[in-house]
């Protein structure tokens, strides 16, 4: 079994430090927002997680295309890792968004374009894992996953564009239409610091978890190979 690279260990520690600092900045350092109060602090981690989820989404799409072109199994591992961690990051973003929405929009959820697209993306990820779970042959599993990732990556932006038009011509019954991320409030310099630092911290967390998950995928494949050899 290959030993964990030193760089990865350093990255692990760096992640812990960065997230701790980001938490301090978001919860203590940043000033309280005038209209929304303390619940606005959720926004720092919420946007960071959503952004990182997006990164994972794009990485999965690229890895899928790369696998179809090269048939190199390492791209399949990268793709599965990207989808898995993106699933979790998006989930965190959705939950944090919900927590923010309850006091501000007076509802846990609304079928607004971004939320709806996030929900659909999560469904596509879940479908992805159900697909993988239903196929025994590794080659076929990798090919089908890559095809589905490709189809999903193209469908989600189209969905977003379609829904955005749909929802803007119908009135929104509960709450307001402008969300904080659209500049609904102006960020003071202190807030900007907290915001960008959170973004940085979670990008590093993304890289760290991505690397760990890819390693895990490689090790898992090695175990499968060994199993095959023993059974022969």
């Amino acid at each position: 079994m290959t030993k964990k690279p030193l760089l990865l260990l350093i990255l692990d520690i760096l992640c812990l430090v960065l997230v701790a600092v980001a938490a301090y900045l978001a919860l203590v350092y940043a000033p309280m927002e005038v209209t929304m109060g303390n619940v606005q602090r959720v926004f720092y981690f919420h946007v960071a997680n959503a952004w990182v989820g997006m990164l994972g989404f794009i990485a999965a799409g690229v890895a899928g295309i790369a696998y179809l072109r090269t048939h190199d199994v390492k791209w399949d591992i990268v793709e599965e890792a990207a989808v898995e961690i993106s699933l979790v990051f998006f989930l965190i973003a959705i939950v944090l968004g919900s927590i923010w929405a309850r006091p501000v929009w007076n509802t846990w959820w609304t079928w607004e374009p971004r939320l709806t697209t996030a929900a659909i993306t999560e469904m596509i990820y879940l479908a992805y894992f159900m697909l993988r779970g239903g196929i025994e042959d590794p080659g076929r599993r990798a090919r089908f996953s890559a095809v589905y990732t490709l189809v999903g990556s193209i469908s989600v932006p189209i969905t977003f564009m379609a829904i955005r038009f749909f929802r803007t011509i119908h009135p929104v019954v509960i709450g307001t239409q402008s969300a904080a991320a659209q500049g609904g409030f102006n960020m003071t310099p202190h807030m900007k610091v907290a915001f960008f630092f959170s973004l940085l911290a979670f990008t590093v967390v993304f890289i760290d978890l991505f690397w760990h998950r890819i390693r895990l995928g490689h090790l898992s494949n090695q175990v499968e190979d060994l199993k095959q050899k023993v059974m022969e």
């Binding site: 095809v147 189809v151 749909f166």
Partner: protein, 234 residues
Amino acid sequence: MAERAVTTKKSGNFIQAVLAIAWKDLAAELRSRELISAMLVFAMLVILIFNFALKLDARTRMTATSGILWVTFTFAGTLGLNRSMAVEKDRGCLDGLLLAPVDRASIYFGKLLSNLAFMVIMEVIVLPLYSLLYNINLFIPGLLLVILLGSLGYIGIGTLLAAMAVQTRTRDVMLPILLFPVVIPVVVAAVEASSGLLQGLEWSEISYWINILLAYDVIFIAIAFMVFDYVVEE
């Protein structure tokens, strides 16, 4: 089944293969009629359930009609796609098709044509029945175009995903799970366009949705036929 002479032109061969595959499915269906009857009965049952699930007074009916129609078409379409692909796999037809000296993409287009035909036949029967049952005139030309474009997008991506789903362990269940999240733009655009046409809205508002349907159809049929090879190869 009439034998067709094989021409030396490559494009001619492709189109012949597509038509042959589509004709095979249609001919088989003409004899057994199991697919269409299953889709039809299912569609009628869905409409029946909606009648009790949503209390549709005359006013609500106008706005809910397009949604109900598309839910019905979506679910019945899944049935058709599943059966169509399962039959190929179970009888070994797919292996036979793969051995034939034709472009793999022609298998995709052949299946696309036959699946689309089945779905359109089902819709053509459901529409007048719905009109009768709910006393709504559904014979607006624009509406028929929207239904055709929506069905094309649905079947376009559905044929590819059905070919994948039928090779997994949880066959029939897998197709809706894979298909529905990905086909949402079609559903959104088709429902909005249908609803707009039924309410007699301005063309400029409806044309946006029709453009989305067209774009979706083109993009996804292109993607599907490019990757179909990877899905059926051994």
